[in-house]
């Protein structure tokens, strides 16, 4: 009997203690506490009329429940008047429905999905007329939130994630000095949406406009000069021979100033047919990519090699291959890479046709094939991959793959293909690999950098893109020469692009290496000034900086502070760079600030302290009452209570 009581008295306090220690934190934060993160959360903008694509990741939601997303004003409580409503539209039309289904929560309670955030007026009639009492505004002046949860009709049960929006180009003053750019897809995102809103403010006061055009067209318009009113062309490739001749005939010459660095990626949107989740890891070989883009593989689930590379993915019945129907620089880059890495598979795509359209080498115009969905324009291609096209929108039957610039893949939140080379090495498109890919580019005869398409390096993305601004350089164009005001505007823009502009890059871009920024600075100073002279080599060493300041280490620890090791030079380095420490300016992309959020963890400690005080008080009262009660009945030796209270 006594030992049984002993057991009870040993186990009960220990278990109680632990139960309290577990129970309190459990009640406060609990394993099932739902949490949601949204990427990006700040600087959202309406990208080409599609709103903003965001990736929503969640954790801790109940299994098998359906998660919904609503867009409402900040701190909304009434979904009927403060949220996007199903049935009405917004600036992104039907693409941003009032209530978006994120998907079914699986057994882990965690997952992620891509959603579209509407920007501007929300809840309007199809002709974008406001609806009284229902229309809300979400933009850079009107704060909004996304609400994620399982009951879209009750905002109190949903998790609120505040979002903020970028200043749109439309908010710029219209009286700045006009500067009109035309150019390819790689420069579009940063110039039109990030830089134009920065340079329109004082002190630059530039009214910068960027029209998306294939690189060839942009250069043609630039050569026209004043007639087409294009002040600079942003292109990843130089002029071809006829264009150069046309410019020379007009008495001008051109310089190519690097302003942005990104990469061409193979972007896809494929949903796993077993789990229903979007596939985010897809590995393909160069041969497979060549077969896909020449229409030789369309039903991926039947292909043994794709299955071997991606054993866990259940592919849908059809994967639509999306290509560009117009002649453009992206296709030129894509086919150049195919030609260098998978020539045989590429050429065999046209083996039944006479003449074989794939046998002629890299081209800027894809041959027309029934199996490939040819879309005009970079905007069109990215849109079809991200949303489907016409009847082909069901993710349970279709998937999409295409090639776009990395900035577009980032804007549309599209995952990108990992390339597995024949040597077994795999390269992924990340800011790091793209930066490395830029660093290993080689200068061509004109001094422009060409990607090392054939390089099979797991650390360097093989299709990097440097966007150059084609600008007047050296000799003045006699026909339609730019005005001095235009040249001033051009100089301030280029100074910004190679300087502060590199610190505000949207996702998908990497900062320009210092040597390229230096090249832009030199070219900027030579606009219409010096007589024609060879453009500086892109890898010319910048002036050596003062040696790094190294303070003596303190006595406690003695880590020597050697001079910073210079990173690998962007390409063929002049011998001096190994001697003089090169000033390397790396910049971190700056995201818009986010708001501080208090954590429920802070409740645990006060809970423990109050719990201890309450337990002590109740315990003493209980013991005291039993002691008094016991004494009135009899006089037992009740040291227990005294002992317990004393400790």
């Amino acid at each position: 009997m006594r030992t049984r009581r002993g057991i009870a008295l040993v186990i009960v306090p220990i278990c109680l203690t632990l139960a309290v220690l577990v129970g309190l934190p459990g009640a406060a934060i609990g394993a099932g506490h739902p949490s949601v993160s949204i990427s990006p959360r700040a600087g959202l903008l309406d990208f080409t009329g599609d709103g903003q694509y965001v990736t929503v990741s969640w954790r801790g939601f109940p299994r098998d429940s359906v998660l919904y997303l609503r867009e409402c004003v900040r701190g909304a409580t009434d979904p009927l008047s403060q949220c996007a409503q199903p049935g009405f539209t917004s600036t992104c039309g039907d693409a941003c429905p009032g209530i978006q289904t994120l998907g079914l929560v699986d057994k882990t309670g965690a997952g992620s999905a891509v959603a579209q955030v509407a920007i501007g007026l929300i809840n309007v009639k199809p002709n974008l007329d406001a609806i009284a009492g229902k229309t809300i505004t979400c933009d850079f002046q009107n704060a909004c939130s996304l609400f994620i949860g399982t009951t879209p009709s009750n905002l109190a049960t949903m998790t609120e994630v505040p979002i903020s929006f970028a200043t749109p180009p439309l908010a710029c003053p219209t009286d700045g000095s006009p500067l009109t750019a035309e150019g390819g897809s790689a420069g579009f995102r940063v110039v039109e949406f990030a830089w134009s809103v920065k340079v329109c403010a004082a002190p630059l006061n530039l009214s910068l406009d960027y029209t998306l055009q294939p690189a060839g067209t942009a250069l043609d318009d630039y050569i026209q000069g004043g007639l087409s009113d294009v002040d600079l062309a942003v292109v990843p490739q130089p002029m071809d021979a006829p264009q150069t001749a046309a410019l020379s005939a007009a008495g001008g010459s051109v310089g190519y100033a690097p302003i942005a660095a990104s990469g061409l990626v193979f972007a896809y949107r494929v949903f796993d047919q077993t789990s229903g989740h979007q596939v985010t890891t897809l590995t393909l070989t160069p041969d497979l990519l060549a077969k896909i883009f020449t229409g030789q593989v369309t039903q991926w689930y039947l292909d043994k090699e794709i299955e071997k590379l991606n054993p866990t993915v259940a592919f849908p019945t059809f994967i639509a291959t999306v290509g560009r129907g117009d002649a453009n620089e992206d296709t030129q880059q894509m086919t150049s890479w195919m030609w260098a890495n998978a020539r045989k598979a590429w050429v065999s795509g046209g083996r039944r046709m006479k003449p074989n359209p794939f046998a002629s080498g890299p081209t800027d115009l894809l041959p027309s094939l029934g199996q490939i969905d040819l879309v005009t324009g970079a905007r069109g291609e990215a849109r079809v991959i991200a949303k489907g096209d016409g009847d082909v929108v069901s993710t349970s039957t279709y998937g999409w793959i295409g090639y776009v610039d990395s900035s577009w893949a980032a804007s549309y939140q599209l995952p990108t293909v990992r390339i597995k080379y024949p040597n077994g090495k795999v390269v992924r498109a990340t800011p790091r690999t793209i930066a490395r890919g830029i660093a290993v580019m080689r200068p061509d005869v004109q001094g422009l950098l060409t990607p090392a398409y054939g390089r099979q390096d797991p650390k360097a993305w093989p299709i990097p893109t440097v966007s150059y601004a084609a600008i007047p350089h050296g000799a003045e164009r006699t026909k339609n020469p730019p005005t001095p005001e235009k040249l001033d505007a051009l100089r301030s823009f280029l100074t910004f692009a190679a300087g502060a502009g590199q610190t505000s890059l949207p996702p998908g871009y990497v900062p320009l290496p210092p040597a390229l920024r230096q090249r832009t600075k030199v070219l900027t100073n030579q606009i219409m000034k010096a007589p024609p002279e060879p453009t500086p080599h892109p890898t010319a060493a910048p002036p050596p900086p003062p040696p790094p300041v190294v303070a003596p280490p303190p006595p406690v620890v003695a880590p020597p502070a050697p001079p910073p090791a210079a990173p690998p030079p962007p390409s063929v380095a002049p011998p001096t760079s190994s001697i003089a420490p090169q000033q390397v300016v790396y910049v971190a992309p700056v995201a818009a600030p986010v708001a501080l959020v208090a954590s429920p963890s802070r409740l645990i400690l006060p809970g423990l302290v109050f719990g201890a005080m309450a337990a002590l008080a109740v315990g003493v009262v209980l013991l005291g009452s039993s002691f008094i009660g016991g004494r009135s009945g009899r006089a037992p030796k009740d040291q227990g209570s005294a002992e317990g209270a004393a400790s």
């Binding site: 030992t3 002993g6 057991i7 009960v12 306090p13 220990i14 278990c15 203690t17 632990l18 309290v20 220690l21 577990v22 459990g26 934060i29 609990g30 394993a31 506490h33 949490s35 959360r41 930066a435 990497v510 900062p511 790094p548 303070a551 280490p553 406690v556 880590p559 020597p560 502070a561 050697p562 090791a565 210079a566 990173p567 790396y586 971190a588 992309p589 700056v590 600030p593 986010v594 708001a595 501080l596 959020v597 954590s599 963890s601 802070r602 400690l605 006060p606 302290v609 719990g611 337990a615 002590l616 315990g619 209980l622 013991l623 016991g630 030796k637 227990g640 209570s641 002992e643 317990g644």
Partner: protein, 298 residues
């Protein structure tokens, strides 16, 4: 077998017959003792948290020092593209004004901050361009940032990394409460942001000291903006660690059963002798886990 009562058995000392006759009084007494025991354990936890946990931090600092030396003396930390792995020492932070000299460890989870001040993983390493964020505890685990509130504009902060020594000058100090802009957000300035909890014991917001780099920054790799996991913002604990408490309950039950069996079959004194270190170790482990559920910069 008829040994006198153990410490655990003291409350059960009344005669068996009486106990059977007065079951209600006994239940109340046991409940009272249990509640007091709970209060005592929580009291011990507070002693651990605000006192004894200092030992853990001091020991970690001693162990980080040689690792920091080897990383910075011709080690990988001297290169421009070094990215510290979680748990590695990143820098030596010294603030003469408050007599602080600590190794900064990579990561700002509650676990990482038990070792000393922690460097926010998504921010640049101190000395490199951008907003470097270092979080530290204000009241627990050695409380490296306990006197951060006396800092004033103009005070110097010295940081040594593998890339050299850097001096920052404090430009502002203040507290940031929920809803305001989080100072750990990236910024274009080359600065150092020290954060800890505010108010000191409740950690609802942050106490923030912002200091600007007085020299040119050292080169470093470009950072991609990432979402900071919620348990590394410095204000939250690590709820995932709560699972370990279950294991500790099982261990406690096993120790209790073993001790009782031992006292019945062999000797109560020996049982107490053997069980005491085990109970202490379990308590220590439980306290450690519980401390990780609390806000990381507490």
């Amino acid at each position: 077998m008829q040994e006198p009562e153990t410490t655990f058995d003291l409350t059960a000392a009344e005669p068996v017959a009486t106990a059977a006759a007065r079951p209600r009084g006994r239940v109340i007494r046991v409940a009272g003792v249990c509640l007091i025991a709970v209060a005592v354990v929580i009291g011990l936890f507070l002693v651990y948290l605000f006192g004894a946990s200092r030992i853990i931090e001091e020991r970690s600092q001693r162990m980080l020092l040689p690792e920091f030396r080897s990383l910075t003396q011709q080690g990988p930390a001297t290169t421009t593209d070094w990215r510290p792995a979680p748990g590695q020492p990143v820098a030596l932070l010294s603030i003469p004004k408050i007599g602080l000299e600590e190794i900064v460890v990579e990561g700002t989870s509650a676990s990482a901050l038990t070792q000393g001040p922690g460097h926010l993983r998504e921010s640049p390493v101190p000395g490199r361009p951008g907003n470097s964020v270092i979080a530290g505890r204000r009241t627990t685990f050695g409380a490296p940032f306990r006197n951060l509130d006396v800092m004033r504009a103009g005070d110097e902060i010295h940081v040594i990394t593998g890339q050299g020594a850097f001096t920052y000058k404090v430009t502002s100090i203040g507290s940031v409460m929920p809803g305001q802009v989080d100072p750990i957000s990236p910024s274009a300035k080359d600065q150092l942001t020290l954060v800890t909890s505010a108010p000191a014991y409740t950690a609802r917001g942050r106490l923030v000291v912002v200091a600007e780099l007085t020299s040119d920054p050292a080169p470093g790799p470009a950072l991609t903006t990432q979402v900071i996991p919620s348990d590394e913002t410095g204000l939250a604990g690590q709820p995932a660690k709560a699972g370990w408490l279950l294991l500790l309950i099982e261990a406690a039950a096993a120790v209790a059963l073993g001790a009782v069996w031992f006292s019945r079959r062999i000797s109560t004194r020996v049982a107490v002798f053997l069980a005491t270190p085990l109970v202490l170790a379990l308590l220590w482990a439980t306290f450690g886990i519980t401390a990780r559920l609390l806000p990381a910069t507490l």
